[in-house]
């Protein structure tokens, strides 16, 4: 803690030094949970930041702080950014939810955008991507590719976003492979390469030959590569350097267009509170190229599913679906509403184990 605190302080000091000259520029701040070089989640948010810089050039100034722990320390970093004159602040991790609201209360003139949360205020918008749509495509491929019928899943924290992903992947894997079983490991971290690698190795040792991850580094990819016949999917970023094996596809977060749009809204004075939740259709979620390691018919099936989701003709959570305890969740043909999805805290029928509370 002490270390990260100092780190962020040091980064803030740097930010201060460069802040002085920009009076009429729109200043946009970004709070990152990992390093921009993680190759996954934070990397893509930083690509979004660069897209903003590219779009508006001299009219905008961006600042960012990496490795900000989720919790009270995040509040300090955001406060500092607001004091330095940021007009718009993107806080890019679920755990920044309450800190963002607390700081937003103190700075009514600064606009805040919180990623993957669900609490809004007059000056706080939330935005997220429907990653579960991508998980449906992954689940389909994973169900076909597994030979041991064991799919390993590295979870970060048991929050609705992660649970949604597990459910979506499971439903679609099960659909193409009724014998499939999920083994889930919670890493309790977004970013810790050594721990993620350990988790991947453990899953492989216990028979998993497809690994899905909801953590931010590429370490599980490296572990799968070392093991040989194991398939993985890029998470948040393409992780294309591990293609065609073990990485056979990926979910890519594309934040750039949204960041550009919201920055423009602040410049024009048209910014208002919104809850954005876009998926494959709007391009916020991308599916990375499905590599040659996947048979052509599986690839075609996955792409057809992707297109159906993009056009809105198919919803990944379509009934009949039961909850883990066997009670009915969605009846035949019914689709899940966004409210239930946003707060999802249960496994669907067939997944073993309990969600940590």
């Amino acid at each position: 803690m002490k270390l990260t605190k100092l780190l962020s302080t040091a980064a803030m000091a740097l930010g201060l030094a460069t802040a002085a000259m920009a009076e009429d520029k729109t200043k946009v701040g970004f709070v990152y949970v990992g390093p921009v070089g993680d190759g996954g989640w934070t990397y893509e948010h930083n690509q979004g930041r660069l897209a903003v810089e590219k779009e508006f050039g001299d009219k905008v100034e961006t600042v960012y702080v990496e490795n900000v722990p989720e919790g009270p320390d995040a509040e300090r970093v955001m406060t500092q950014m607001a004091l330095e004159g940021a007009d718009l602040i993107f806080t890019t991790s679920f755990g920044y939810m309450d800190p963002t609201l607390n700081v937003a209360k103190k700075f009514p003139n600064v606009k805040f955008e919180h990623a993957t949360g669900y609490k809004t205020a007059d000056n706080v918008s939330v935005y997220s991507a429907r990653f579960y749509e991508g998980r449906a495509v992954q689940g389909t491929i994973a169900g076909h590719m597994t030979k041991s019928n064991i799919i390993g899943y590295i979870g970060s924290y048991p929050i609705p976003e992660v649970i949604r992903g597990i459910n979506s992947a499971y439903i679609h894997a099960k659909k193409v492979n009724p014998d499939v079983q999920f083994k889930i490991v919670w890493a309790y971290t977004w970013f810790d390469p050594a721990k993620e690698a350990d988790a991947a190795k453990v899953l492989i040792e216990q028979g998993a030959d497809v690994i899905l991850q909801h953590t931010d580094s590429t370490a599980p990819q490296a572990a799968a590569q070392a093991a040989g016949n194991v398939y993985t999917f890029g998470q948040a970023s393409d992780m294309g350097e591990y293609a065609p094996m073990p990485r056979i596809s990926s979910i890519i977060d594309n934040w750039g267009p949204y960041y550009v749009e919201r920055t423009k809204a602040v410049m024009d004075g048209t910014w208002s509170t919104v809850s954005t939740w876009d998926g494959i259709g709007k391009g916020m979620v991308g599916i990375g190229e499905i590599s040659d390691a996947v048979p052509a018919d599986v690839k075609a099936e996955a792409l057809a599913l992707k297109d159906a989701i993009a056009s809105g003709s198919y919803h990944p959570f379509t009934g009949p679906l039961n909850k883990q305890d066997g009670s009915v969740w969605l009846k035949e043909g019914e689709t899940a509403d966004d409210g239930t999805l946003a707060g999802m805290n249960f496994y669907v029928e067939g997944i073993e184990g309990t969600i940590p509370q």
Partner: protein
């Protein structure tokens, strides 16, 4: 639910892999602290070693050269600490923290362009005959040679500190630097050498993560292992074998809890996730009931004029 899906042999083998970087860094720090210097820069030296080792081994194609470079990189960074604290008499706590921050930044800078690059594979050494022993063979004798190096380093450190004149002098400097100085020992020189040794060990530990355990380069990839190594030295009451025990416990419980999770054992995950820290601290605290304390001069600056 299905403990049987856990393979105890693979579990113990990965325990050793998880414990090695921690052991390397902690043994280095133990020697440093025995000489009376508190270097909080372990994390910084580890991550610097991780990228130095990674870069050199990618560029030369030789993992062994990479490990050497990691040791040199860690030692070079620790030299900065040595100059600050031994010659400029700066505060050791502050200098150590600065070293960690500097190391993290420097490694991120050096690491530009190495993300996603694959390092050359590290050869596993299957010791002839020994690796054929059932159960023990696959656990102990099919590891990479750094594991053996770490073990012999622990053995060597223990023997040198306990039985040799050099070890006695090192401990004397750490217990009472004024008395050691009065006896004619070069306090500053001895401490600088200890700091360099600690840096080299931490660098090796870092490279073990980036070259063997993960193996890839990502910014901040040591993710706090240096701090755990520091704590381990204290909880092990500055005794090499306890450091080894602590490292194995920590690495072992960590791997075990992941295994239990994957096997679907019905223990709440929160307890499993905190168990490595709890169990390691608990065991070592109980063992240190014999009140073997810290080196008396730990963290105090020395200058011959005082």
């Amino acid at each position: 639910m299905e403990i049987s899906s856990i393979n105890p042999i693979l579990l113990l083998a990965s325990l050793i892999v998880a414990a090695t970087p921690l052991l390397l860094a902690a043994i280095g720090e133990l020697v440093v602290e025995k000489s009376g210097v508190l270097n909080l820069g372990v994390e910084g030296m580890m991550i610097t070693g991780a990228i130095c080792g990674f870069a050199i081994s990618v560029n030369t194609g030789s993992p062994v050269l990479g490990l050497l470079a990691a040791a040199v990189g860690g030692a070079t960074l620790s030299l900065l600490f040595a100059v600050l604290t031994q010659f400029a008499l700066a505060n050791q706590v502050a200098s150590g923290l600065a070293l960690t921050l500097f190391g993290l930044g420097l490694s991120a800078l050096l690491g530009q362009g190495y993300q996603g690059v694959k390092p050359p594979a590290f050869p596993h050494v299957d010791l002839p005959i020994l690796s054929k022993i059932p159960v023990l063979g696959p656990i102990l004798f099919t590891q990479d040679f750094v594991v053996y190096l770490a073990f012999f380093l622990t053995l060597g450190t223990w023997a040198v500190l306990k039985y040799t004149r050099a070890g006695l002098i090192l401990r004397a400097v750490g217990e009472n630097h004024d008395a050691a100085h009065a006896l004619g020992y070069k306090v500053v020189r001895i401490r600088v050498m200890a700091i360099l040794f600690g840096g080299a060990c931490a660098g090796l530990g870092g490279a073990y993560i980036s070259l063997i355990r993960v193996p890839q380069w990502t910014e901040g990839m040591t993710a706090g292992i240096g701090w755990i190594a520091l704590a381990l030295v204290v909880f092990a009451s500055w005794k090499p074998w306890r450091v080894l025990l602590g490292a194995c416990l920590f690495g072992g419980v960590n791997v075990l809890q992941l295994n239990l999770q994957a096997a679907g054992v019905a223990i709440p995950v929160e307890y499993l996730a905190m168990s490595p820290y709890l169990i390691t601290i608990l065991v070592l605290v109980i063992m240190s009931a014999d009140r073997s304390g810290a080196p008396a001069s730990l963290g105090r600056s020395f200058h011959a004029s005082n």
